[in-house]
């Protein structure tokens, strides 16, 4: 068991004929993901490195039975690409593209309310169910099948947590990068709920950063619902106010969205807060031992 993606995932890539789209389609296939094709308008009917290319997501779904898509379409067109995937009946949409205008994402967000599709991202690394399925751009080799579920707004911090839990011998169930944009699909709360309900996941790592209130919302839920050990880390304690730190969503507006407030909310919910990114794995191992799970 794991969450969101597994051996039944049938993946297509929107923007598969682009450099990044093709490279990561190959890497996902190498990892064991069933990559059944890709979409690039006007290139339907062709093939690229063994992947059949379709003109539209609807055609790709009809021909391949795809249920998941990863999007590498350039930012100005990525909002429409998400909507196209939802209209074609895709279950899980993973938007890797960075730099989509906020207004486009607001339109997408409200449009998806009437659709069955689940969105992850945009501006995210995707997700990996260790040893089984990889969707997105995470380096596959650092993952090891195991007990820990991970949710994070940052790509490289996700890799850091994966690497450290692998070294600690804990391994992972599914690691999900939800992305660094202000308007995004699944948030911390949604993924924490899924990990909490997943029997294979015995411990949870939540990685957040300054800006917004996603982490506080997840903390509320953890407080009353989660019995599994949870370790949290928040990046940006040393970031100045009012400056966007790389991610579009990583900004302290006035006095809201600070790392201190988020850490307090997590601690109040019983989460073990790692003071530095270097001790996430060690804190998780200690928490698992204390719970008799490692």
């Amino acid at each position: 068991m794991a969450i969101l993606i597994d051996a039944n995932t049938r993946l297509i890539t929107q923007g598969i004929t682009g450099k990044a789209g093709l490279f990561h389609s190959q890497k996902c296939r190498d990892y064991g993901t069933k990559v059944v094709g890709g979409v690039t308008p006007k290139k339907g009917g062709t093939e690229i490195d063994g992947f059949p290319v379709f003109n539209s997501v609807a055609e790709a779904v009809k021909a391949t039975g795809a249920n998941c898509t990863m999007i590498f379409v350039p930012a100005p067109f990525a909002g429409d690409a998400i909507i196209e995937a939802a209209d074609a009946g895709i279950d899980l949409i993973v938007a890797i593209t960075e730099g989509i205008p906020v207004i486009d994402m607001l339109k997408v967000h409200h449009y998806l309310k009437s659709k069955k599709a689940t969105l992850i991202g945009p501006n995210c690394p995707g997700l990996v169910t260790a040893g089984v399925c990889k969707v997105g751009i995470a380096p596959g080799f650092i993952h090891k099948a195991g007990k820990i579920g991970i949710v994070s707004r940052s790509g490289t911090l996700t890799y850091e947590a994966v690497h450290q839990t692998t070294l600690a011998g804990l391994g992972q169930t599914t690691a999900v990068g939800i992305g660094g944009d202000p308007i995004h699909g699944l948030n911390h709360l949604d993924v924490v709920k899924m990990l909490n309900e997943d029997p294979a996941t015995e411990g949870i790592i939540l990685i957040g950063e300054i800006g917004g209130s996603d982490e506080e919302m997840a903390a509320e839920y953890i407080k009353s619902h989660v019995k599994k050990p949870v370790v949290g880390f928040i990046a940006g304690a040393s970031a100045p106010k009012g400056k966007r730190m790389g991610h579009a969503g990583a900004i302290i507006d006035g006095n809201s969205g600070t790392a201190a407030a988020k850490k307090d909310a997590l601690r109040a919910a019983g989460v073990v807060v790692a003071e530095t990114a270097a001790e996430i794995g060690a804190k998780m191992l200690a928490a698992m031992k204390a719970a008799g799970k490692a």
Partner: protein
Amino acid sequence: MKLHEYQAKALLRASGLPVPKGEVVLNPAEVEPALTKLGMTSGVAKAQAFTGGRGKAGGIKLFKNAAEAKAMTEQLIGMTLVTKQTGPEGVKIESVLLEEASSIAKELYVAVTLDRAKANIVFILSPEGGMDIEEIAEKTPERILKLYPDFGKPLSADFLQKGAAFLGLTGVLAEEFAKIAQGLYDLYLKRDCSILEINPLVVNGSGHLSLLDAKVILDENAHFRQTDAGGDPDADKDPSEIEAAKFGLSYIKLDGDIGCLVNGAGLAMATMDIIAHYGAQPANFLDVGGSATEEAVTKAFEIITSDPHVQGILVNIFGGIMPCDRIARGIINAVNTTGLKVPLVVRLEGTNVHEGKALIQGSGLNIISATDLEDGARKAAQVVKAKA
């Protein structure tokens, strides 16, 4: 991307919203033609700068005739305006808005912005216009109302009624408010705004609403379709930040003494944090991105070392897409071309880590290798302390 007041008002005016008439001037010679065009002799001269509190700092002045307007423009352009928001370094004034003076019966506050948690646009209203909204929020939070539109639809009658009532507007003024609110909402969506703040929105001496001051920030991600809005994405940035952006680097200059070169925004922040945790201060935020070239890494290194405050450098890379050997080559190139005047600590992990470490060791350069993130941060903090 911030817009100047005159640029913001041009957008508002083009949307049919009531703003005072005005013209921007870049030098005293432009003053008389501008006043002739406006058909006025007296008015107000407003220094154009990305800061609040301009009035108190001497950046807004009334003039009675063209000669006074000229003298004020002469004085304002080129001066450094220091307000409570700018800090002691202040901001340089490059243009002045000459505007008709408005009589003010009442000052209100209206802003349109994004509510991330609700994934919707929010209107923030207050009858306490003219003050900083954070000041109002602190002193009289009950004097602030947040209203949410039904996304994708025009503002509802209920929304507009509630808004007008809260602001104490009735009759003709309530009707004017309805038009202004809808106009602001449309403009926000059409122009990819992140903040559209009217402070103050005034009831003027003739009993009409007028948008007296406007602060507009546009979404940088949407710049490709808003190039005619007049904003300059680089206007508010440090020159080194602009240079970095050309190479796909996300760089923010800070006040500390340890330069950081990291891949990924989250890890870059976490690296700054761990440096601070070990008692030193980061000199910058720098994310080289997930697919940086060797050239970009070299450039990143140059930008970091050009900051005279930097006493040590910490490179922290978790190679995912980007292999560690590429980073290593970029660093070695940079050190070979620009030299290395401060201690350099390098922590590499992930894709091709062994190749990367071997390159660094074989380079013969004086680079301190770190086994992991904690080791890297400790060593970087130590070298800076040892120098101090």
